[in-house]
């Protein structure tokens, strides 16, 4: 196996012209459609014909109704509410929880899906629960009081030792063995390449980790950490902020990091956290991944993670617990206006009854992504903000129910996170890792594939064109590569497609003007809370955006 990266493109993201986009889109979708037809005509059963499952994703019908401005039924009722939260992902639920905590009772959370959770959604079958998106949280920065409090409330942190270090619940700390990598034909322990790696490569890997360790503790001239969470707490020092204006790939080149193994690893990390390789993310974001997390624990290593079968769906349920009665699902907000009487009028379609209601709210928290908000706020200008500059990475998540994973003769056994070197996916996670049972006969594994081989718009279009069988061709091929003979052990594969999976921290987005403008509240009535306002799609950012927006509502409500 060579150390060459699997994708190969000139440096820097190239914006496509409209014409070239249309041409490429046509060729691509046509090609996929054609291959689907050929498949059907040629007949024959694939190896995985026995596998049950379906292709699904976020409510595309509702999304398209919004995009294509389909006619909506005229509002037939109206409601008043003090605060309306649009979106029940982590940001929205966190905002709702904060309002409730501060004694508010007059608020509502609207969700267009029939379930809450956004990227922290999960599914359940007869074997296990499993994530449909985010699936873990690294142990948190000890000084992050709101988050530490939340984790203590929910029993994730059980107590503090006499040095003040948090004790994490042992059932939630990821069980050993944690990670393995299939490299040079061998499953090694850990994901940083090691097996069959030359001394020169090792030296570069060590040098990189020394750099990030140093940056972990680095502070800017304003006394703030160079990299922090939430990222808006990071230092304004130009020494660090200027790193946002070059790509991570260029930064690595400039600093003499050339080892193909190291570069593979760093690209894997970018894909894992940002859904796109180092080429498309800023150096600041690339380094943030390694240097922003400074958490320590009494009973775990500094880089430990906490996880559950349903992934961050577990945390989502905890956030939701106190505000359950305020949530209204299958409700699509499709139009927002600021009325003369100072109220915000939000038109909402009940997707089940197909009726519309107008909500008159004093304040609105838009805990929905900006590409959606743009459609809702079509009559309200957001000066200086250009949504077209935001890049959302499409993702494919496949949950496979397997009755056995064929084991390699040698090497590391099944871990929580299982990755193969130089493959398109970022590997799979064992949803049943936290099971204390001695032996499970069946398990669910969650396979993550960031669709980053093309520019996001093209990749998204191509993704929407593919059928279940065409996805299976991709998923099964890669699973077979990792575990020859696994196909016959797969009982079910449910595929979940995220068209706009997560925001990508592209060059100049995090510290550029566009993001600053995106965060600006409108008229002290409409506030925003979403990870795309950070540029980094992680639980901590969403959690803090929710609290920040809720606090803004409370501050302005009091005035």
């Amino acid at each position: 196996m060579s150390g060459r990266l699997f994708y190969n493109r000139a440096s820097g993201p190239k914006p496509l012209s409209r014409r070239s986009f249309l041409l490429q889109a046509g060729l691509l979708t046509g090609g996929i459609y054609l291959s689907g037809c050929i498949r059907k005509i040629s007949g024959g059963k694939p190896e995985y014909a026995h596998v049950k499952g379906k292709l699904s994703g976020p409510n595309a019908k509702a999304g398209h109704a919004l995009r294509d401005k389909l006619p909506m039924p005229a509002p037939s009722s109206q409601q008043s509410v003090k605060t309306l939260i649009i979106g029940s992902g982590i940001s929205g639920l966190s905002a709702a929880r904060w309002l409730k905590k501060q004694g508010e009772t007059d608020f509502k959370v609207l969700e267009l899906e029939d379930h809450t959770g956004g990227n922290a959604s999960f599914g359940t079958n007869s074997v296990s629960s499993y994530p449909l998106g985010a699936h873990y949280l690294p142990i948190v920065n000890n000084y992050d009081k709101p988050l530490v409090d939340f984790l203590q409330e929910t029993g994730v942190i059980t107590h503090f030792d006499n040095k003040g270090l948090p004790f994490y619940n042992e059932y939630y700390l990821c069980f050993d063995p944690e990670e393995r990598l299939l490299i040079n034909g061998h499953w090694q322990e850990g994901i940083v390449p090691d097996f069959g790696v030359s001394d020169d490569d090792r030296k570069q890997i060590t040098r990189f980790f020394n750099l990030t360790t140093q940056l972990k503790n680095a502070k800017g001239n304003d006394g703030k950490y160079a990299f922090d969470i939430p990222l808006d707490n990071s230092s304004a020092d130009e020494t660090y902020r200027k790193l946002d204006r070059i790509s991570f790939q260029d930064y690595l080149k400039q600093n003499g990091f050339t080892s193909p193994y190291l570069l593979w690893y760093l690209n894997y990390c970018c894909k894992d956290d940002y859904g796109t390789p180092a080429l498309n993310v800023s150096a600041w974001a690339g380094l943030h991944y390694f240097s922003a997390r400074k958490g320590t624990a009494a009973n775990a290593e500094p880089n430990a993670v906490i996880t559950w079968p349903e992934g961050n769906g577990w945390l989502m349920k905890q956030l939701k617990a106190s505000v359950k009665d305020h949530i209204q699902t299958s409700s699509l907000a499709y139009d927002i206006n600021i009325e003369g009487n100072g109220k915000v009028a939000v038109k909402v379609l009940d997707l089940k009854k197909n009726t519309s209601t107008v909500f008159y709210a004093d304040k609105v928290i838009m805990a929905s992504p900006q590409f959606v908000n743009q459609k809702l706020l079509k009559n309200i200008p957001r000066p200086g903000f250009d949504v077209s500059k935001l890049h959302y990475s499409p993702w494919l998540i496949a949950n496979l129910t397997v009755n056995e994973i064929p084991t390699a003769v040698k090497g590391m056994v099944l871990c929580w996170d299982n990755v193969a070197y130089n493959t398109a996916s970022v590997g799979y996670v064992n949803a049943n890792q936290q099971d204390t049972k001695l032996i499970e006969n069946k398990k669910v594994i969650t396979y993550y594939l960031p669709l980053c081989d093309k520019e996001p718009r093209l990749a998204r279009l191509a993704a929407y064109t593919r059928t279940y069988e065409q996805w299976m061709d991709i998923v099964i091929t890669e699973m077979e590569q990792m575990h020859p003979g696994i196909t016959e052990h797969i009982e079910q594969t449910d595929i979940w497609l995220w068209g706009h999976g997560m925001i990508a921290p592209t060059v100049d987005y995090i510290w550029g003007d566009n993001r600053r403008q995106a965060n600006a509240a409108i008229n002290n009535q409409i506030f925003f809370a979403h990870t795309d306002l950070s540029g980094i799609s992680i639980f901590e950012e969403a959690f803090h955006h929710g609290i920040r927006a809720a606090q803004q509502v409370l501050d302005h409500g009091a005035a």
């Binding site: 042992e170 700390l173 069980f175 050993d176 944690e178 009973n299 204390t436 001695l438 032996i439």
Partner: protein, 502 residues
């Protein structure tokens, strides 16, 4: 007169004699494998077999007409019964209450059929030979066959074919005799076609058995185990193998030795008595693992014990040790005691849901050789078990060898200490295991060394424990860390330390 007749039939005599003795040897060998005590088994088997042959000879006078036809029928029957005998015995071995009946039943049937062969054959040949010549020829071939059988059985057949395939092979030979006789004398026999068909079908059946004998006792397995495998079964959780060599019965789970019947008392006495002698009024005992019932056997020696709760994952395992005669003898029918409750459950999940407390807890899990079992050696698990232990109760953990794997051993101790338990490590020598370690753990800080032991123990005594509590320099305590769910260092240590010896 057909000239082929005498040679062909004399070859048959030779084969018949060989087969007859082979079946007898198979029955005797299987009986002593499965039931133990080879002298008694062999002599009763031979007795019953010879007596049945006598019955067969006596019955032979009732066969009057169509003697060739009867000879062929008997050959086919001998082939079928003898050929499948060892498979049948292996398969029914589990439900052992009927095992002896089936064993002696099969021996009797084979004996009767073999007993019929020679008299009928002699009567077939009597008109074609002078009597003194006939007697001398038939018995000469009979005894030569017996000699050959007694030599090839232990030297070639058992080592290279195994006992199941040997039986099938000789069953096939018997049926071949029937078939050849049938083909050669089809004009002299009534219903030759029907007999020919029957022999061919039997031949195919026996051949199939010969080919698939592997599924009955795995031949490759019998190569990896130096002793004879008398039982093997794959359960959803593990592969159970029982081997026997002389008086030594051994249990293997997934290829790892669990006990040898010769010295297991050293292990189980050491596991149980230092705990129970120190908790004189113990009434309720919990055993986790130990699905062989041997630890429970030791516990039941204390009359004041009211309940023993045993939690073992594998239903097949506890069933085997509750039903098999030989194993019941070994564990003194401990699972049949009304005081004992067997729960087939996953120990970790089961323990999490319990509230009842116990005077003594015996933890007898397999060694931490993989991450699944490793979970049962973590601080989280010991924390749960601690809640099931009465304030003045004692628990004990089998903790691998402090000689071969000191780091692993002291990791278990450190992990027990990390949940606030006081520990008392001790060790003894178990020949089949080597130097072995145990760790007692308790809430109170002091372990009072018992002054005396139950009468009748073969190993434990006051002086013995004194030695067991002493750790020589080559097993002295080494620095260790806590084994946790999120950092299973024990599995890594265990693998490292044992890989250097194995």
């Amino acid at each position: 007169m057909n000239k082929k007749l005498p040679i062909l039939l004399l070859v048959s005599v030779f084969i018949i004699a060989t087969c007859g003795l082979i079946y007898e040897l198979i029955a005797g060998t299987l009986a002593s494998y499965l039931l133990g005590d080879s002298v008694t088994q062999f002599s009763t088997i031979i007795g019953v077999y010879l007596f049945s042959m006598g019955v067969g000879s006596w019955v032979s006078k009732y066969f009057d007409k169509n003697l060739l036809g009867w000879f062929i029928r008997i050959e086919i029957l001998v082939g079928l019964v003898g050929g499948t005998s060892s498979s049948i015995l292996f398969l029914v071995f589990e439900s052992v209450s009927s095992f002896r009946i089936i064993l002696y039943g099969l021996i009797s049937i084979t004996g009767i059929l073999v007993g019929l062969e020679i008299p009928i054959l002699m009567r077939i040949l009597k008109d074609r030979f002078e009597f003194k010549d006939l007697v001398s020829k038939v018995f000469t071939f009979d005894y030569i066959g017996a000699l050959i059988a007694s030599l090839v059985f232990p030297l070639l057949l058992i080592p290279y074919l195994g006992i199941v395939r040997t039986a099938y092979l000789f069953g096939i030979l018997n049926v071949l005799v029937a078939l050849i006789t049938c083909v050669n004398f089809k004009h002299e026999i009534k219903g030759a076609k029907y007999l020919q068909g029957a022999s061919i079908i039997s031949l195919v059946a026996l051949l199939t058995g010969f080919i698939y004998a592997n599924t009955i006792t795995n031949f490759s397995e019998s190569l990896t185990y130096s002793d004879t495998i008398i039982f093997s079964k794959s359960t959803p959780y593990q592969r159970i193998i029982i081997t026997k060599k002389g008086r030594d019965l051994r249990l293997f789970l997934n290829g790892n030795l669990q006990f040898s019947s010769v010295d297991e008392y050293r292990y189980h006495e050491a596991l149980i008595h230092p705990v129970l002698q120190a908790v004189p009024d113990a009434k309720h005992v919990l055993v986790m693992g130990g699905g062989d019932g041997l630890a429970v056997r030791e516990i039941l020696k204390y009359p004041q014990i009211e309940t023993v709760t045993l939690v073992d994952l594998d239903k097949e395992m506890t069933k085997l040790f509750r039903t098999n005669d030989m194993l019941l003898k070994l564990n003194n029918r401990s699972f049949l005691s009304p005081k004992v409750t067997v729960i087939n459950a996953d120990a970790f999940s089961w323990a999490r849901e319990q509230h009842k407390v116990y005077d003594a807890i015996i933890i007898d899990f397999p060694d931490p050789s993989n991450y699944s079992v490793g979970k049962l050696y973590t601080n989280t698990f010991y924390g749960i078990v601690k809640h099931l232990l009465k304030p003045d109760g004692i628990m004990v953990v089998q903790s691998t060898s402090p000689y071969v794997a000191p780091k692993s051993y002291y990791t278990v101790e450190k992990t027990l200490q990390s949940v606030g338990l006081h520990t008392v490590p001790y060790h003894n020598y178990v020949p089949s295991f080597g130097e072995w370690g145990y760790i007692m753990a308790m809430n109170r800080p002091v372990y009072k060394v018992p002054d005396h032991y139950l009468p009748g123990l073969r190993f434990m005594s006051k002086q013995c424990l004194e030695q067991m509590l002493y750790f020589p320099k080559d097993m002295a305590r080494v620095p260790a860390q806590v084994n946790k769910l999120n950092n299973q260092i024990l599995v890594k240590y265990f693998e490292d330390e044992w890989s250097t010896v194995l």
